[in-house]
Symmetry: C2
Subunit: 228 residues, 2 copies
């Protein structure tokens, strides 16, 4: 069974307040993206990695992939303006024999190889899987600055990646996507739109997405303690 990982890392990082895209920011002497790629390089279940980066980073990433001996990176492709465009660009480049596709955010460096393996196993069984953790906060629906309602927290999950799909199913989901009216924040949503069930696998609160300087501080801390 051939398993392809697509790592979208083409974000502009507007929330980061830095001129450097967040996926390339230095973390212990290496770009943040290095740690994410390393986990997929060493995960036994992964056969190839399709890396999606901003167009102007293609030459640097080719050098990095070689220098780090990330031998599973078979393609480095340019991303789009939106996350779903970057994943679509990666999806177009997976190996012909690929049956399972794992999508994982480039800026989630704390993913364990155990959770990658667990996600892939579940993906083989359920065809569509998303990693998630139970929501700890009280969540309210707010309209014009006033509470509309408080949600029942016991059924709410905060979605992470990896998300794992049967390759054909994900292709079908992307093929049906024309111009999305609402912002697509994850790939599972597209598969849900096909009416296909999506299985939730319990992830790890530490598998954070680095999108703000505070997240970066926490990442630095994890690194200093050798947690990653």
């Amino acid at each position: 069974l051939f398993v392809s990982a697509i790592i979208p890392a083409a974000g502009k990082g507007q929330r980061f307040g830095s001129r450097l895209n967040k996926q390339f920011i230095d973390l212990g002497g290496k770009p943040l993206l290095y740690y994410t790629l390393r986990q997929f390089q060493i995960a036994d279940v992964i056969n190839e990695i399709i890396l999606v980066v901003p167009e102007n980073w293609l030459p640097e990433m080719t050098i990095l992939a070689e220098a780090c001996q990330f031998s599973k990176i078979t393609q480095i492709v340019a991303g789009g303006n939106e996350r779903f465009q970057s994943v679509a660009n990666g999806l177009a480049k997976i190996d012909r024999q690929s049956e399972i596709v794992v999508v994982h955010d480039g800026v989630r460096p704390f993913i364990s190889t155990e959770l990658i393996a667990k996600s892939v196993q579940a993906g083989i069984e359920y065809q569509a899987v998303a990693l998630a953790v139970p929501v700890k906060d009280t969540i309210k629906v707010v309209q014009q600055g006033l509470v509309e309602k408080t949600l029942d927290r016991s059924v709410l999950w905060a979605i992470q990646t990896p998300q794992v799909f049967q390759a054909e199913l994900l292709r079908e989901a992307y093929a049906r996507l024309s111009r999305p009216t609402v912002s697509i924040t994850d790939d599972a949503t597209l598969v849900e739109a096909l009416g296909h069930p999506v299985k939730i696998i319990e992830g790890d609160y530490r598998n954070i997405k680095i999108t703000s300087p505070d997240d970066y501080h926490l990442a630095e801390f994890y690194l200093s303690r050798k947690i990653i």
Copy 2:
């Protein structure tokens, strides 16, 4: 205008994996709760603090309050098994002249005095206010391990404290609470149940609730950088 702060810190800390309750865990040589209390002590808008702790901690907290010269602490009372019982115990002890009640989790030490002041001002204007931040994660409703639906993130807010109420309104909300069937995770929910509008004020992502060892690591990091 007399403003009372109720600080519930009576949690058992089951999620923390430590024998010591999380609110008393050491952070830079002082119990976590110290930092929270200090912010309310130095906030000009606060007239008195009602501290709610586990019954067996009453003597130690009396000593701490005196040693730290937290002169605004007028009452230290024993909490209940559930958070809402602890807040109710505190509410029963506020000063007779108190018109505004601020409820703030004992384990949210990173609250700024600016946000305390902003919350109180909004509480005076709207009678019921909760601090919150826009949700960054994709949130899905999950039933029996399968996605039921993906929520529209643009209207979701993660609720924090302080929450500020007109004293009479909060008393009425607690008076109507008999045996809650769903777990009450914040005070605003009780006021919403009365049909009273609750205003949302934008908080700070750094105003985290320390409920797990990972949160504690981040708190240690903030402290080491003198962010608090």
